[in-house]
């Protein structure tokens, strides 16, 4: 059972994505800039959709574009995240399983991450995430002890800072990009802001 490390950057953007569209299901891809093998380090994420997650064309388009961008930037797609509109239900939908399968075909330790909406409130001690990994031809819950979120307290405070400064509105997902193609779905601006807030002592966070 391999370990998974979730960076502050990836976590913050996922959280912001789910918060930006509280009435919709949202999804996105988890990326890694580390080489394959050993611990999976999720270093970044790309927020994809907030509408019609199960319809094919835009999903296919987004997957292709992210794939191309990843090869240009030495990253790999290592997982998929989703937050369901219905807060009380954080189980993976058929659409989530389908996309995760596709990613697993290219990455044999891919993870499926569901955001637990019920735990998304200020002051919640536990990270609002549930992770699944491929085991015996199905997606099984990952042991919590193999999931690492470095500097959890600091990550929480960074997310809070983004909300209070209004920077959470900078997040662009692929859907929003299609509404206005001048918007950058790679979120360079927001990434820079988040990395500024991450203290320099953290090295590879």
């Amino acid at each position: 059972m391999s370990e998974v490390e979730l960076s502050c950057l990836a976590y913050a953007k996922m959280y912001l994505h789910a918060s930006q569209f509280p009435r919709c299901s949202v999804n996105g891809l988890l990326l890694s800039s580390s080489p394959a093998g050993g611990t999976i380090c999720i270093t970044d994420c790309v927020p994809l959709l907030h509408s019609h997650l199960s319809l094919a064309p835009i999903t296919q388009l987004a997957l292709t574009q992210v794939d191309v961008w990843c090869s240009q930037t030495q990253q790999r797609i290592v997982g998929y995240y989703q937050a369901n509109a219905c807060v009380s239900d954080s189980s993976p939908t058929p659409c989530a399983l389908k996309i995760a399968e596709k990613i697993f075909e290219q990455c044999n330790n891919a993870v499926l991450l569901m955001i637990d909406g019920e735990k998304m409130f200020p002051g919640c001690r536990a990270p609002p995430i549930v992770m699944y990994e491929r085991k015996d031809a199905r997606w099984a819950l990952k042991d919590k002890h193999t999931i690492m979120l470095r500097q959890w307290e600091e990550t929480c405070s960074i997310v809070n800072q983004l909300f209070s400064s209004g920077d959470q509105a900078l997040l662009v997902d692929f859907d929003s990009h299609l509404d206005d193609i001048t918007k950058d779905w790679t979120n360079q601006k927001l990434n820079a802001k988040i990395m500024e807030l991450v203290s320099p002592a953290n090295g590879n966070v």
Partner: protein
């Protein structure tokens, strides 16, 4: 903390007009509505005249969306005082109960409205929304279908039903709902484009051809609909790559795809002008178009 009028340098009339615009165009920018509306109500209530009642309603609903029960409650009280026996206000009270997840109490309220007035569509739709909020999709679908048998012209309901079917992966039924919407709204490019997406998802040559046609139709209605443009590119490419098509069909679709690709490149070039950060997506699109070309031939 400075007021909205100070922050944005707007007059109370401009704030009132903004609220009207958001109301008429059915925006759900609840945080903004709460900010603007709350200030309008607190500082300028006397100037608003009869507009104040519809503003109370609008702000109340937005407040529920933002978990501002304090504000929602005070708006509701004003409305109850002014319109003591109104079904419309009763429905708002029901919505507040829904926001507090007191679904049984909300249902009782809506049932009492329906006893008084069985044709009250608002109450019926709220009951269906409760089913949706509780995750009871099949019941919501059943109720919505019954509702539409009676109120066959309710666009909002048809759209809601298409969304429910899409979530349940019942694409054939979703397509049916969108067909109804396209019939009554032939100039709406979004319905055409959504219909095309559903057809594409269903897959198979026939559906892909329909998808391509409707993506093209959406573009005719709005030549800036990027989803339709990409959809046209992808469906034409898939058809051209299929071994089952005749040489002529293949040739035609290669042409359509090439046209779409050039439009896409043009759009991205125009968008990327002068913006450093867009180089990433422009390059990604170019490579994507290239990579898809290879699979086509």
């Amino acid at each position: 903390m400075s007021s909205i009028s100070e922050l944005y340098d707007v007059t109370w009339e401009e704030m009132r007009d903004k609220l009207r615009k958001w109301r008429e165009e059915n925006y759900r920018n609840s945080e903004q509505i709460v900010d603007v509306g709350e200030e309008l109500i607190n500082e300028h209530a006397s100037k608003l005249g009869d507009d104040i009642w519809i503003i109370y309603e609008q702000v109340m609903i937005a407040a529920l969306d933002c978990s501002r029960d304090d504000l929602a409650w005070s708006c509701l009280q004003e409305l109850k005082r002014q319109f003591p026996d109104s079904h419309r206000v009763k429905r708002l009270a029901g919505m507040r109960l829904e926001a507090l997840e007191r679904y049984e109490d909300a249902n009782k309220l809506y049932d009492s409205i329906l006893q008084d007035d069985p044709t009250n569509t608002a109450a019926r739709k709220r009951k269906i929304s409760i089913l949706r909020a509780q995750g009871k999709s099949s019941e919501a679908i059943r109720e919505l279908n019954e509702y539409l048998e009676q109120f066959v012209g309710d666009q909002e309901a048809w759209h809601e039903l298409s969304e429910l079917y899409i979530n349940e992966h019942d694409y054939a039924k979703a397509a049916f709902c969108l067909e109804e919407l396209m019939m009554t709204n032939p100039h709406n490019h979004l319905y055409c484009e959504q219909y095309a997406e559903v057809k594409y998802t269903q897959g198979g040559l026939e559906n892909l051809e329909l998808a391509r046609k409707y993506f093209a139709q959406a573009l005719k209605l709005n030549n800036r609909n990027m989803r339709a443009l990409f959809g046209l590119y992808m469906s034409a490419s898939h058809i051209a790559a299929s071994p089952k098509v005749s040489a002529k069909v293949k040739k035609d679709n290669v042409k359509y795809a090439a046209w779409a690709a050039s439009q896409i490149s043009r759009a991205y070039q125009m968008a990327g002008r002068g913006k450093k950060e867009n180089k990433c997506s422009v390059k990604a699109v170019e490579e994507m178009l290239e990579s898809m070309q290879i699979t086509m031939s």
